[in-house]
Each structure stands twice: as C-alpha cells, then as structure tokens.
Symmetry: C3
Subunit: 310 residues, 3 copies
C-alpha cells in the first residue's frame, strides 16, 4: 500500500513502494511543462521552503529552489558549510526545530549519515533528504529512475548496466534498490576493489532481481538499454596507489557508444570528469544533462505531494 | 510620545516608549496568523528587503527573510562574513548607501558596536539593527518581551528571573531595559564574575524597578513567573579557568522546573548548549522554541511600520 | 545594424552598435521609475535568473537581483567563491549547461578572462557577463555611459576625462570603447606607469576619436564635463614601491571640484578609497552613488531585451 505523503518525510529510497513510484512519476510528468517554463503555476503559492545545506551542492540546491519557485512558492536558503549556531555547538535537532517554525517544508543536505532522519524527527514539517553524506540521496534515485522512464518510455524489460564506483557510489545503491521494484536485468561493471557491496546484492537476490557482475565495460554493451556511469572518487580511497590503478578504468567514448545497442541511454549523476568524453555530449544517447533537468519535475512532484497540493 | 516609525530606524531597545511597545505588540499579534501560514498577505508587495549580514546568524536572517516573504515582499541577501567591496577597504557607509539605492529597507548584522547607527546615517531608507556585536539586538529584545506577553497574557505584575551571563549577555541588558517600562519585579541570577553591569542596575533603580540579585537559581524559583536563561559564552572569557568554574553553574532540568511555580515560563534566546536539559523541551513550560517563532510576527510588525504599511 | 538581443548574450562592450546603445538607454529610461519603486511591474513574471558568482561582488549581484525582482521575476543565486562541483573538477561548461536547464537567463561573474564566453557557448539561454576577471564587465560600461547621459542630458559634444589606473582599469577601457560611438573629446589622466594601453589608443585613433594624455588632473579641469575617477589597485602591482609612488597621485577634493567647470560630473565605479574625499559626497557634482543606482534600470533593460519582453 502506498504511503500517504502529505506531511511525511522523504528520507530513503527504501521507503517507496512500486505504487508510490508510479504516482510520483505520474505527477512529475504533469509538472514537466512547468519545469520547462512552458506553463505557469501558482500551486505552492504562500508556501515556503528552507534549503538547509550544511555542505555545498549548488546543483541540488538550485534544483530544489527552482522547483519551488516555478510552482509559485518561495525560498529561504543557506549554502554555508558552517551554520552560525552550529559552530556555537547547537544541535542539529534545535536548528531544524527552529527553522520548522519558520517555513512549511525543509530540504536538508548534511555530511553525516542519519542527519536527515534526525532533522525529520525534530519538526512536524515535512523534511526532504537532499543527501546525508555517504548515506542516501533519495531524490537523486527518483530522478535517475524517472530519466530512464522518460528516455526509454518504460522501465520493465530493460537491461541496465551500472559502471564505475559501485562500492561507495551512493546513487548506484539507491537506484538499484528502486529498480528492484521492476522487472529489469542489471549488470554491475567495476574493478574488483569497487564491487557493489554484498548487502546490496543479497537484497537484489532476495527480491528476485536478475543481475550479473563484470569487470569489462564492453562485456555485453550491445545488449544494454541503459549505461549508468559514475565517477571514481579519489576522496574515498585511503591508498592513492589503489586510486591511480582504477581511476581511468572506464572512459565512455563516442566509439564505445557506437558499439552499443542502438538507442543506448548514457546516464551519469554529474559532475563528470574524464569518465565520459565530451565528444559523447552531442550524441542523442547522452542523457546526463537531460537527467539533471528531470530532477526539477521530480522535486516539484515531491514538494506538491508533501504539502498536500498534488 | 511615540516615535513615528515610518522611514525611521530600529537601532536600540532604548528608543522605544511604552506606547511604542504596545503598538508594536498589537500589530505583531495581528501578524501572528500570517506568520503561522494560516492567513496570506500581500501587505508588502513590491517592497524589497536587503539582509546585510557581515557575520553569520542564520536564525536571525531567516526570521527577517520569512517575515518579509510571508508579507508578500521580496529579499536580496548576503550571509557572507567578507563582503567583496569591504575586503577592498570600502567603508560601511558607502556599502549601505549603495544598497539603500537598490531596496526599500535594510536589516544589518555587523560585529562592531555602532555599525547599525553608521548604516542608518548612510541611507534614507529605514535600517534595522539585527545585532551590532556586543552592542544591541533590539528585535531580539522585542520578541523576548512579546513572548512573555503571549505566554503569560500580561507583563505587568510578573516576577521575572534572568540567569546565566548577565555581564556580557546583550539580550539580558536589552530585555531588562524594555521591562523597565512595566510594573515588574526582576531577579538577576549569576555567579559573582558574571553579575549584571552596574550601569544597568543604576538605570533600573532610577526607573524605580524593583530587583534583587542572587547566585542561587533555586532562590525563589517557586515565585518566578518567567525564568530567562542564557548561555555562558566561552568566547567572552580571557581566562579559561574562570570559564571552567562557571560554565555549568546553572542547568535547568525537568526536576528544577517541577519545583518552580506552576506555569513558570522557561525562555532562552538560543542556541542552548548544556544549560537547558533536552528533557525540558517536552514540558509546556518550555517556551524557547515558541520564542524564536515570535520573532517572525515581531519583525513583520517592524517591517510594516517602517515601510508605512502597518 | 542593431543586433537582435532576444536570446543573445551580453559578453563584451565591443558588441554594441550606436543603435543598440540608443535602444538600451531608451528602455532603461522607461525602467527608471520601476527601479526607484515608483511603479510596479510584472514584466518578467515567471522568468528566472541565476546569478552564478564564482567570485564575490555583492554590489553587482544585488544590482542584477533587484533588477530581476522589481520586474516581477525570480532568482536563484550563489555567491560562493568555491562551487561545490567546480571543486570536484567539473568544467565551467558542464556547470552552466546544467544551470541553463533550470532557469531562463544567467548572469555570471568569474575570475578568468573568457569565462563568460565559455558559459555562453554552453547553454542556449542568454548569458550576461557580470565581469570575467581582467576581461570585460559590459554592464558596468553601459551603466557608466547611461549615467553620463542622465547627468549631462547628452553624450555628444562632451569633454570627458578619465583618471587613475588607465592601464589595468577594465571599466575605463570598456567605457572608452563605448564612447567611441559618440562625438566626444577624451582626456586620459594617469601617472606614466599606468597609461592607457596602446591598443585602446590605436582603436580610438582609428575611430577618429579626439583624445589627449596628461599626468596632471588639474590640466584642463575647467573644461571637463565629466571626470571619471578610478581606484589604483594595489593587487595589480608586482612591485610595492611602484604602487606606493602612485597610490595617492590623485585625490579629488571639494576644492578641486570647485576649480572645475560648473556642473562637472564626478564619477567612480566604486568601491572608492582615498581617491575621492568624502566631503565631495555632498556636492551635486558627486554622481557616483547615483551611478550605482543607474545599474538597476540598465540591467532591467538587458534582462527584458534578452528575454524578449522589452
């Protein structure tokens, strides 16, 4: 059964049922013309969002803020790493409880796992997790899945490959969990030291999701409907030599895409460095910039749902 | 006689007469449903507030911004410690004069005493002092007093205790000054080295305000209608040993509140650290989170008054 | 022939024809009452501006933002030196392409020459250069010229002196280039080591603009209609001794202005340090604060033009 969203929180990709996803995507699809500026909306008129970003993430913050504004709502924001009261030792609980007295809804980004849940418990206002460090970033997972739906017109029946840092890549873990609600075939592509965690694989087995692992990005590329690439993050490594070995293990080139299935959809959560060659940008397969756009209707849908206006 | 607020500045708690306070609180009370989001307002439509925060204070900045937005106004803001032109050596006067050419009203926070007055002199636009270092923070004093009025339904006749750092605590000084307009009895509770300054006490004597000093927070707690607690701030001490001696001299616990007068109202300007136990939060006596909320209708009232729209 | 502005970019002062300038100034003049708050406008309703400031410039950012807001548009902004994704190594191209998917128009400030052009190429949305390091700052040049027009009621026929750092002063170079479209006489006043670059002088010769150079600010002051002063910037010097020699070479005092032509208009891009005495501020000749105000109607005109709403 679908959770009732009004006044609830969005903390984890795990909280969504298949029905929830279908509903969110249906609403997001209706939001699309507003997100593009083709239609005007005052749906969230006199509603106020606070973006509490305890670490910088300009892209994510902008996406939430423009979603709120284009629906006629307003924002108060902070993009400071160091909150003034936090530096005086104030608890996150107190900060959020105060801000919850000012606004109708809060989007929070914080470097610590579990911080979004702490925030949600501090206030009766709905709280959206906009990334809690190595924890979760559920709106990213939703926009990733919505991008697949928009690009391929379906999710069921697709063969979806995920490449790069599958060990630490939080977007990969959340997306795989959402995909487990669908009838898909997954391929995990990574060097040995960056394999997907056993916990995730066990979860997929339990859910009956068909998947395989490989080290070779070319292994089966002619079958992939979607290739979701991720950055290998230097900051996750304690041994620089280990990083140097794997940092450029996969580079998606025009030539590689050419050998893929026709219509193969190339995705990436951005920022991308060397792992996707800029020459790929011009191919119709390159979906990663459209992907960031789809974050806007997804966040519009969530804001509207949580505020009881969907 | 009441000052005429339209196009005037709010610089100091000292500037208000009893009539001013009554008028501000009457307007703030009417603003309350708008601050809660129960009513919509376009009162300050096409009015623009600049929040010039030369030091971070997320809570205060948010409070001003949401007050402006919920009244239909708009904001431009900066939360940067280092202003670009200031770092090039520009005078505060020039910065404020320029910004005064852009907006209708300015709220300024600055680490130096007297900066708000300098700002007010630089522009014909109304300027609100949102804290000038160890100087004043008059909107905090107003919201503190308004909280007492809301919680106890009156101010005259109350016995109000103030505890903690009475020497450096700017909120204490300003609130005591406002309370001198009323028929109240004050109790100052502090360790010897953090006693209220003689100047403040002399002022109270001159105004005929009844007060006494004590070191013991339990001394008379069964008589207090309001207990206003403050943080003892490490940064005010030059000798760390002195700080260590007094830092935990008062901790308000559930047990302590239980021994107080029925309905005793516990206030704190926040952020709070150890000086109020979190277990107190759930008591109906804990007014400190409601107190931060009351900053919104107070700032709404001031914005409306200064812009001639009250 | 005039460029068509709709969906175009504003990158350089060089891109404007005389016709463009006339048109921009005509629209800016109509925007003036809105900029002053005497008239309300919803012209840019449901349009969204992103201010991408990779270096702080509060004055310029505020000017763009208030221009957008007073026309009924909305803003998302960042004033951070360090963008989150940029610090992860993302290219400016990718950042701008993403933001271009969120908003209708972008104003960018960046420390590197050519960055605004890179930004403009990354997105189909119009991009306005709000300063690309030692490169250009075309909206400053436009507001400078507009100020002359407003203060002197004409541009043709004026004798305009520019003093201070003519070598590195980007505002001087751009303004001189715009003035070359008019029938003016220019006087360049600087110490030897800060003379205007030969390239600029050659351009003026080619355009048939009458000019002369001098080291003495009093040389001909009784003939100047406009005296545009600039700050000598310490950070441009590699040899501190050289800076010390010239830093106070010109100080505009009340006495100096008194010896000038009646109605001489004193301009400065601000921030000013010692080079204009504060006693000058009260003279009707002091146009530099009005000058910053004129940035608002100029930016309103550009926003409206680029968004096809002029």
């Amino acid at each position: 059964m679908s959770i009732k969203f009004h006044s609830k929180d969005i903390i984890s990709a795990k909280q969504f049922t298949r029905e929830d996803l279908d509903m969110i995507f249906e609403i997001a699809a209706r939001m699309e013309p507003i997100a593009r500026g083709d239609e005007e909306s005052r749906l969230l008129r006199s509603k106020y969002l606070a973006t509490l970003f305890f670490e910088s993430s300009t892209r994510t913050r902008f996406s939430f803020e423009i979603a709120m504004l284009r629906l006629g709502g307003q924002i108060i924001n902070t993009s400071h790493v160091a909150f003034s009261s936090i530096t005086k030792g104030e608890s996150l609980h107190d900060t959020v409880k105060v801000v919850g007295n000012f606004v109708d809804i809060i989007a929070i980004r914080h470097p610590l796992v579990g911080s979004a849940l702490t925030a949600a418990k501090a206030t009766e206002r709905p709280v959206i997790n906009a990334g809690d460090g190595p924890g979760e970033h559920p709106t990213q997972a939703l926009l990733d899945l919505f991008t697949i739906l928009k690009e391929k017109k379906r999710i069921d029946g697709l063969k979806i490959a995920m490449a790069g840092d599958l060990k630490f890549g939080r977007t990969i873990h959340s997306l795989a969990q959402l995909l487990a609600h669908f009838d898909v075939e997954l391929v995990f592509i990574s060097p040995e030291i960056l394999r997907a965690p056993e916990g995730l694989l066990a979860h997929l087995r339990e859910k009956g999701v068909s998947f395989r692992e490989t080290k070779d990005i070319e292994d089966g590329i002619c079958d992939f409907d979607v290739l979701y690439d991720t950055r290998i993050q230097e900051e996750r490594f304690t041994d620089l030599k280990e990083f140097e070995k794997v940092k450029n293990c996969y580079t998606i080139t025009k030539e590689l895409v050419g050998r893929g299935k026709e219509g193969i959809c190339i995705m990436h959560p951005l920022p991308r460095l060397q792992e996707i060659s800029v020459e790929v940008d011009d191919l119709p397969n390159a979906a990663y910039f459209r992907q960031t756009f789809y974050g806007v209707p997804i966040r519009m849908a969530l804001l509207a749902l949580l505020l009881g206006k969907a």
